[in-house]
Amino acid sequence: MDGNNGPGANNSSDFVRKLYKMLETPTDENVLCSTRGRVEDLPRRKNDADEQQNEKFTKHILPKHFKHSNFASFVRQLNKYDFHKVRHNNEEGGSSPYGAGAWEFKHPDFKANNKDALDNIRRKAPAPRKPNQIADDLLPTQQMDLFNTQLVATQHQLQILQERYNELSMHHSMLLQELIGMQKTVVNHEHVMQYVMNFLQSVDGQRRRESRIANPFAPPASAQQNGTVGAGGSLLPPIEDDTPASPLQHAAKLLSETNADAILNPRNLEHMNEVSMRMNNTLTTPPPDIALRNGKRSSSRGAPPHSAASSSSIPYGDLDHMVYPVGHTNGIDPMYSEHVHNIPYPMPTKPLEPTDPRYNQPPGRKKSTQIDPGWIRQPQILLVEDDPTCRRIGGKFLYAFHCSIDTALDGLEAVNKLNGGSKYDLVLMDIIMPNLDGVSACHLIRQFDATPIIAMTSNIRSDDISMYFQHGMNDVLPKPFTKEGLLSMLEKHLAHLKKQPPGLEHMVPQPPGPPQALAHTSAKASLKSEESPATSPATVSNWNSPVGSSAADEYAHGHPGAYGIPPGSAMSQGAGTPVYATSPSGPMGAPRPPQPPPHRRQISEITGGPDDVTAASKRQQIYGSAAAAPPPMLHQPMGQSVQHPLTPLQRPRP
């Protein structure tokens, strides 16, 4: 009456043992014979003369050993255990030692006098069939399991993203600060330059006055000529003693021009920095800002250094790939269910894998019911149940889950077992039982033991359930329970015994926040897409792209769909707009209408429009990392204030 040891406990199957026994029995020798290495079973079908034997076998021998008298069934069973019918080729005379119509079967491990080899004979794995029906049956619980895993994975992913994002934003602000520092240095340099210029000019003026005095007849035109040659040839700085005034003026003019820019730029940068400080988490993709600066730059300096931009865009483009998704998911609290709902990508396949086999299995599982949930050690389960049917089935399920089972017939026995020092990892407790009901038993057990106790009951009204919890129950498994329900219960409460992906144990007990809809679709999606993740909905490929650093066009395809979901949400407003809205108000508001190269043009057009960040950055992707908006950010301050002033300085040195 206990379900502790099912037939599964035996190594060799019942059928094989019975078959062996049947052939050992000497009485039936006229119909069945057993010889070395092969078994012959007998009856002949086609031959009328043999019909009798056939009948004898079916009617008398089979029932003696099996619980049925069906020859076809017997044959089927043989086939299932990988016995093969022996065929006698016609060329060889077609003769079997047992007559033409004899059915002869053999199995390499089925030999007379070798009982040990019987253990090697196993039922073949059943062919997968009717996956749909079973999948449907299992769907609810399975979905929940799946969804849980999925949620965990997603959150894990989010966490990683968050970390990466934080890191990146840290780098970003570091870079910004560096840039600002750099700009300050540059500005200082310029000031120095200006002082030098002023000094030189005064020196120059003095000299001219002196030269005028000294040589009033010297033609000023020649001086001018020299000057133009010097300036046009190399932009020589006016360090040489006899440099005329015009190069000086030229240099001064250039200086003042760039100087103005240099003053504008820090504001821009500082603003960005400020933003990044203010909302540490919400600094996002810089497209609007960059585009602004592009516009400004293109207007202030006719031909931007295209080559510089494109060359620096290569590393930057990569960076952008990584930054991009982060920028959009930031501000999402991973634990906040509404955001989770918005997550545009399904879980990565990796964390799911450990549990996958189980979910994949149901179709083929049919008979191979030994589901190993992957315990570190065998869990000890106490099954408290007065009803023999439930007890046996529950025990059988637990057995299939590789648990070690002890049973108690009522609450009293359970209390005594626990009180007697038996240690269990989990107690499954029926509620209504004779002698002592489950709730009282649980209450008593709680006086001295904290083993998780799960109520198994069909009384699952909310007041019932709250009563169970009040008395120390840890969970409720509604009756009639399913195998999946039981398994998920085990996995939930015995997570510490599982070799599972970390994080699952923390997650599973939490009530799944997000709405069903997501669970349904994503669960189904990942179910279907397990073999080929790429074929699942747009979100999959979308998610893959940032990680796999795939081509830009994938962004173009994926993003609108995926990020299109949360466009109105806090993200685009919280992060995108501030940057976007305030920067144009800067000193260089004018440069909006741009005339320069095609790439730039696109971007500034976009930013000019009311597009949100999504669109802007998306198109930014489309128009290629070559044109790359980001590089200018890096390039610009240096290009404007550093590059120019430096060239004149560098020249004279050699």
Binding site: P7, S73, D82, K130, C390, I393, I432
Partner: protein, 168 residues
Amino acid sequence: MATTHSAASVKSVYSTGTDGSIVQSEDGSAGALDLGADIDAATFEQILEMDDDEEEREFSRSIVYDFFTQAEGTFQKMDSNLEKRDLEQLSALGHFLKGSSATLGLTKVKDSCEKIQHYGAHKDATGIEDELDDDICLKNCKETIEQAKKEFAEVEIALKRFYRDEGS
């Protein structure tokens, strides 16, 4: 290759017409679905799945046959408690049989047992409204027990046919 071949061909010969589910179906007739609406196929199948041997079904067979014994015993107890007018016991017995019939997926029997449980507890069929009159409760119990017996007899036949034991 040859392995699967021979197995498949035999199967196709002997289990024609079935959808490949659990069934012992050499004649192609007895199927899980043939067990009818009285039995919840999904629940019953998961017990069949636990059978080590698909032909003999020792595990599920013994479960089912033990259940028959258990149910018959319970019905007897119900009858005697009807005579004793022990509603409380009737309710307990209803609950008891409810559990095992539910576990086997015998939906109709389970539903009736649940009603017996409620009636015995001075409730109406749904277990929500009180029904304080013992006579009415007993009468309800009696009727429902009869109904449960009938439903049980039906599933018993279906199950026995499934296990090919009509004769025995």
